[in-house]
Symmetry: C2
Subunit: 374 residues, 2 copies
């Protein structure tokens, strides 16, 4: 029966259109509407969301988080105990590792993201490292596994969602057990009552509905670490793990849209292009913009670099828009020198693909009409 | 230039797959994940959302709503003035008129909803009728037009989003100018700072980012009333307007899902099926369930009928699930006798289609495994 409902990973044929299965995932797992790039902090409901299985229903009053495995002192903490500990807030940009997947050629068949699988939130909770130190990982600890309450089947494997992190990463001071988002209780779809927030890492590491933390003396061999989130050209190679967020800039589409095509109409003349840029490896140090489809690039202005280290930065560029059709893009570079490719970085899972976005605009011959009135 | 970016309405060819334009709309406009049918009130971020153009950015401090046209005393109200008036809360189920469109054969090409374009929220605001009476509609008033701040192009027509309601409907006591949703400030994507809530009507009537209310002495001939939201078999006929919500029941999919296919795995034995049912014409009076793909129907239990009149009702049915593959559906009937068809009610726009949902489940031979642990 499992074979019937749960097939192997696959790549679409060169001309294969979007399937109903992909559409069903797109309807559930929503993207940031790109005009929401205007917000420093993404309002709840516009932040991207990816749920592998169903959103679980967890009673916060009976919720318990366990910390165990290769530790000297296993811990059990309810929500009150977590809330009684040190409380910190981090502004963090989170991006799905599969962002941009549906634009790849050929297309890996999975959640069909275009470019909006990103968002920035203020996550409040208690730091993980002091709790882990209190539990006391054994000196031979290798990985820390985070188990969520979400359960399902993926490629024939029944599982609770689980991800492992190297113990050195789990002990970084910015790792957070979050119970609030944007100043309110964590919404169910973002992992209530408690989720992991792993600044700098792609979304798959930020385990939602967290119920168990387990220290291992070996590398974790669970599905989401060894099968799903790997960079592979060939289905049989072990591949490299997906880890931190590659640099990316997005343009906030200027002007106004056509309902169906989402093509943009822009009045001619002065047009401040802006957007956001981020990287999980290091701060973004440079954003370049093109308004001619990549023939020439110009430097954008970046906001002051004194903001939260794990959040996106705003960039802007004053464009004098000539009538006609134009293609806009922005390209981020971070302090490690990593930048965005102009040719697609393809792998079978469609992961960590930071190909530059392309925004087509139609600049009109005449200034904008005033808003319609009766 | 407009022709290039904004085509006419069309129906997909019989075997035409989902396009990238439809996918882009699906990524922006999110559906209720069906497990959220568990909530009486849908949390923000899981309520369905449809935005024709972009989500506008409106400063609540300078916001002004005008009431004018064929009235004796035009009004201008800021947010403080609206908040100082009578304050009421209505729990309202809202559904997009295009819900289920992508399942129609042939498929109207537009926002490609499957079955989740619905949600129930608690909307708080001030009733519209006393304000309209204060402005004093002329005795020859026919329609009341609601203009939003969202601007774009649709089928070649540049426009602010506008919808007219007959004045008799606009004066119904349940019509609300809402400034809160689920006890918090209205989120930007749901129409901040103020939207119309028109209980019983499909979503297109609940104008978001409301900036102008205009009384007319004739029928409103705007795009969204006379071109877009019409029931037509032929593109040239004027068609009938889309108005109130047809009855519908949804099944909360039982068991757990496969990530990619969303097929459901259910342990054998006792399984309480449940879901929600609603109608914009009258209270739901009956829900029937089938577990054999429509060969036989049984009566479900409905919750007490003393809940909010404009909100969905929970229903449930205790199923003894035999191993094997089954197709589940539920069918709602309301107090007017309206019910859900078993064959698709097709029209060119894919509107007001309340064909029964089908949920495929695989019942296993053995009881559920306990949650995975390390």
């Amino acid at each position: 029966m499992r074979d019937e409902l749960s097939g192997p990973a696959r790549v679409a044929e060169p001309d294969e259109a979007i399937s109903y299965e992909e559409l069903a995932l797109a309807a559930r797992n929503h993207a940031l509407p790109l005009e929401a790039l205007r917000y420093d902090v993404t309002p709840v409901g516009m932040h991207y969301l990816l749920t592998h299985f169903d959103i679980p229903d967890i009673d916060p009053d009976s919720y318990v988080l366990t910390i165990g495995g290769r530790v000297r002192r296993p811990l059990r903490l309810d929500l009150a105990a977590l809330r009684a500990r040190e409380r910190v807030t981090h502004r963090v940009t989170m991006e799905c590792a599969g962002n941009g997947r549906a634009l790849l050629q050929p297309r890996p068949v999975s959640q069909p993201w275009l470019t909006g699988a990103v968002g920035t939130a203020e996550w409040t909770g208690t730091p993980l490292a002091p709790l882990l130190r209190e539990a006391g990982p054994a000196t031979d600890a290798v990985d820390v596994v985070f188990t969520g309450a979400d359960h399902g089947v993926e490629r024939g494997v029944a599982q609770d969602y689980q991800r492992g992190l190297p113990v050195t990463e789990a002990l970084r001071e910015e790792m957070l057990l979050a119970y609030e988002m944007n100043g309110a209780a964590l919404p169910p779809q973002h992992g209530a009552p408690v989720r992991l927030v792993a600044p700098g890492w792609y979304g798959m590491a930020h385990v939602k509905w967290l119920r168990e933390i387990t220290v291992l003396d070996e590398e974790f061999d669970g599905f989401q670490n060894t099968v799903a989130y790997r960079l592979r050209q060939d289905p049989d190679e072990p591949g490299e793990p997906v880890t931190r967020i590659e640099p990316r800039a997005l343009v906030r589409p200027p002007g106004y849209p056509d309902f169906m095509s989402r093509a943009r109409v822009v009045p001619p003349g002065r047009c401040v292009l802006d957007g956001r840029a981020w990287s999980g490896h290091a701060p973004v140090s440079r954003v370049e913009v093109t308004t001619d489809g990549g023939a020439s690039w110009v430097e954008a202005t970046l906001d002051a670099g004194d903001g939260p280290p794990w959040a996106w930065r705003r960039w802007w560029y004053e464009w004098h828009a000539p009538p006609g059709r134009h293609t806009l893009s922005a390209r981020a570079t971070d302090a490690t020198g990593r930048t965005q490719p102009l040719a697609q970085p393809w792998n079978r899972g469609g992961f960590a693909n930071n190909l530059v976005q392309r925004v087509d605009v139609f600049v009109t011959d005449t200034p904008a009409a005033p808003p319609a009135s009766i």
